[in-house]
């Protein structure tokens, strides 16, 4: 029931007071299960991501207990293989991708001033497909035996190289669970990507040209466009794998002239852009949090847009840097060395622009800003170790060692998880109407930072010392034992930090301080409506004239549109 007497375009919150009435538990559950509302679906994606983060975190803690001491027998080699396969698969597909859509679904419609996503029912379909795929994957622990009674959860690593995945070498259904579960989540991902693109292009409020969209919306748009051509090669390759396993086809069957290297190419044509897909939300969150907590508009907005598009394009041409040790030609190797190094340019532009945003600003180190600042240093370091690995001869020494694990976890944890925490602390007040505890947040941050660095800084060195990946134990005389113990200890500290975060989440939900619409004094449209927003988001359709509509409303004497 919008109040039609209101004169102001896109004004600050005009939400009529909510009617209070008690719902039964069943009514509440029903409302959530049948919802097509982007906010509820975004929160469900987030709940799914956090749940699977804890599950995969548990898996890696088991791995770290096994590796903490030499010649350990906490886990058998078979269980070890299943755990690291499921850890990787879960983190990428059941945590990383859902996080993309958690933030995109909740925030994009609010930031473009729309009532919902472009295709609400497709949105619901995509979420439930993703969740079902996840449950299906985990059912393999129970049902992976199949007719042959062999196997359990998949144990073929998260990239499932041929011919290990052929019927001959992976009897039972474990590999089938891997392939089919990911085909199912892949359809959910495709639906989500289509939705985000259509929303960003077709649902913007009046006055919001493409170059006035918040950077988060730009990054989610580019991310989704990248997803269209990233997840689909994996779906194609997995269909080929299933056809090989069940219809006797020969795509990856070397006995019949097929090639296992073809699987590698197809997988990494997916796998490399995928990691950029996973990191774009971290960029998006940094681009929203850093300006607000530096009290300065983002430095170099057009360059940020161009750099994001550039990163997406370059990421499509670097995949074989995962295959330097396979034996491609020198020319082939050289091409991928150069193309991989190229990605450092647009990425560097983004890092400089974030720093330039902070420079000369009035920085407030609330918890979201703490996480984003750590992100800047960690993402830079991860980029540098990536450039190290892009040098093929050095990669020949480091491929398959813990150095590589350290590099990509520096991004996955150091950039993505850190900024996910930043994003949750930043938007939790909007989604729930309550602030999270700053004190608990700071404990969470510092413990997680210490644990992260203890684990992953040390991991670079144990990689240099020659420790290979995918081994379930190691002898005592290699000199790896102390380093591994430190790595495991760091893992434990991170686990404790995450428990503090989980406690903070729940206790703030129950009795956090009331937030109001705009606790951070921010500038994008989601802060103009109530916390939590009403179902319809905005009482009147917003009209914007600049990149920071709320700044214009709060400072009518000095609006942004005079300078853009």
């Amino acid at each position: 029931m919008a109040d039609r007497t209101l004169p102001i375009d896109g004004s600050l919150d005009l939400t009529p007071p909510r009617e209070e009435h008690e719902s039964t538990i069943l009514e509440t559950l029903h409302a959530w299960v049948i919802t097509v509302d982007h906010k509820k679906l975004g929160l469900m994606y987030m709940m799914m991501a956090i749940f699977f983060l804890l599950v995969a975190g548990g898996e890696v803690l088991c791995i770290r207990i096994q590796l903490a001491l030499p010649n350990n027998h906490f886990l058998s080699p078979q269980v070890f293989n299943r755990l690291f396969t499921m850890h990787g698969t879960t983190m990428v597909f059941l945590v990383g991708i859902p996080l993309v859509f958690a933030f995109a679904n909740y925030i994009v419609p609010l930031q473009v001033g729309a009532r919902d996503m472009a295709f609400p029912r497709l949105n619901a379909f995509s979420f439930w497909m993703t969740l079902f795929g996840g449950i299906f994957l985990y059912y393999s622990f129970l049902g992976g035996g199949g007719l042959y009674g062999v196997g359990n959860a998949p144990d073929v690593t998260w990239w499932a190289y041929a011919p290990l995945t052929s019927r001959a070498f992976s009897p039972g259904n474990a590999t089938d669970y891997w392939a089919l579960a990911l085909i199912v989540t892949g359809f959910g991902t495709l639906g989500g990507a289509v939705n985000v693109i259509a929303t960003a292009i077709s649902m913007r409020c009046k006055g919001m040209t493409l170059m006035r969209m918040p950077l988060l919306v730009w990054l989610m748009l580019v991310d989704s466009a990248l997803l269209l051509v990233t997840i689909t090669p994996l779906t194609a390759a997995q269909i080929m794998l299933v056809i090989d396993r069940y219809l006797g086809a020969h795509f990856f069957d070397t006995q019949a002239g097929g090639s296992a290297v073809v699987w590698m190419h197809f997988f990494w044509i997916f796998g490399h852009p995928e990691v950029y897909v996973l990191v774009f939300p971290a960029f998006a969150i940094a681009s929203e949090v850093i300006p607000v907590f530096s009290r300065k508009a983002i430095f170099g907005y057009p360059a940020m847009v161009a750099a994001s598009v550039g990163i997406a394009f370059v990421s499509l041409g670097v995949w074989a840097h995962h295959m330097f040790t396979v034996g491609m030609t020198s020319a082939g190797n050289a091409f991928f060395v150069l193309s991989t190094m190229l990605v450092g340019i647009p990425t560097g532009i983004k890092i400089f622009n974030w720093l330039a945003t902070m420079w000369g600003g009035k920085i407030r180190f609330h918890v979201p800003m703490l996480f984003c600042t750590a992100f800047l240093f960690q993402f830079l370091a991860a980029g540098l170790t990536g450039i190290m690995l892009s040098v093929a001869p050095l990669d020949w020494q480091l491929h398959g060692s813990y150095f590589v694990i350290a590099h990509f976890h520096y991004i996955l944890v150091g950039a993505i998880v850190f900024n996910t925490f930043a994003g949750i602390y930043y938007w939790f007040p909007k989604a729930t109407g309550r602030m999270m505890s700053e004190t608990l947040g700071k404990w969470h941050f510092w413990l997680f930072l210490i644990g992260f660095h203890l684990t992953f800084d040390t991991m670079h060195f144990v990689g240099f010392e020659g420790m290979p990946r995918w081994i379930y134990t190691y002898p005592a005389d290699r000199g790896w034992a102390n380093l591994n113990l430190l790595i495991s200890l760091g893992g434990l500290i991170q686990g404790i930090a995450v428990l503090i975060f989980a406690y903070n989440l729940i206790s703030s939900l129950l009795n956090g301080k009331i937030a109001g619409n705009d606790p951070w004094d921010a500038w994008t449209l989601e802060w103009s409506t109530a916390s939590p927003p009403p179902d319809y988001n905005f009482s009147t359709d917003p009209v914007v004239h600049s990149r920071r509509p709320l700044w214009d409303l709060k400072h009518p004497e000095d609006p942004d549109w005079k300078y853009e």
């Binding site: 009046k206 269209l228 051509v229 390759a237 056809i243 086809a249 097929g258 073809v262 359709d541």
Partner: protein, 198 residues
């Protein structure tokens, strides 16, 4: 859908955004093109690499009639789109039915071709690399044809009950976009399989 809200002061600003259905269909087409590209790359990479069994030259006949049917169906669907834009619902229904018929003829032709390949030439998906890549690529395309035909059939049933009108022409065009995509893929598949690969 474009939003043209009335701003106080009485003036209406033009604020037109692309239709979300069209954008959604373009996105789907881009994604599906990526899937087809992977299957085409596999096909091209494995040309001439079969260790045994029938070769394309031995068993493939160029499906000219099928191709003409499928490509003409793009023309007939285009005519149907123009008809509904003019509100000529009977003409629309006729051209729409023609499109579906041509699509079905294409599928029957594919079935006849595959019957010959399987039972007379002994080529199955597991025979050799040619069989594997041929049936998966052409089969993937055929699957997309079937999906398109199913959607068009549903629209045809709604046409017969009088529920499809001029107001729905945008949605008809979005579906026609999918059908044009299926035809474009056939041009690529046809070229790769029956011309380049033979």
């Amino acid at each position: 859908m474009s939003a043209i809200p009335l701003v106080p002061g009485g003036h209406v600003h033009e604020w037109h955004l692309p239709s979300r259905g069209r954008i959604g269909m373009y996105c789907l087409i881009i994604g599906e093109s990526a899937i087809f590209t992977i299957f085409v790359v596999a096909y091209v990479f494995y040309i001439g690499k079969s260790l045994s069994g029938p070769t394309p030259q031995q068993v493939l006949d160029v499906p000219i009639f099928n191709t003409i049917c499928l490509l003409s169906s793009s023309v007939t669907i285009w005519l149907a789109e123009r008809a509904i834009e003019r509100n000529s619902l009977r003409t629309f229904g006729l051209w729409w039915a023609a499109t579906i018929t041509l699509g079905i003829v294409f599928m029957i032709g594919t079935g006849i071709e595959w019957y010959k390949l399987i039972y007379h030439d002994g080529l199955t998906i597991r025979t050799n690399l040619f069989g594997t890549t041929f049936y998966s690529l052409v089969g993937l395309h055929a699957t997309h044809v079937v999906v398109g035909l199913s959607m068009m059939l549903i629209v045809f049933l709604f046409t017969l009950t009088g529920h499809v009108r001029y107001e729905n022409s945008e949605r008809i065009q979005v579906l026609a976009l999918y059908w044009h995509f299926v035809d474009a893929v056939w041009v690529v598949v046809f070229t790769v399989v029956y011309i380049v690969g033979r």
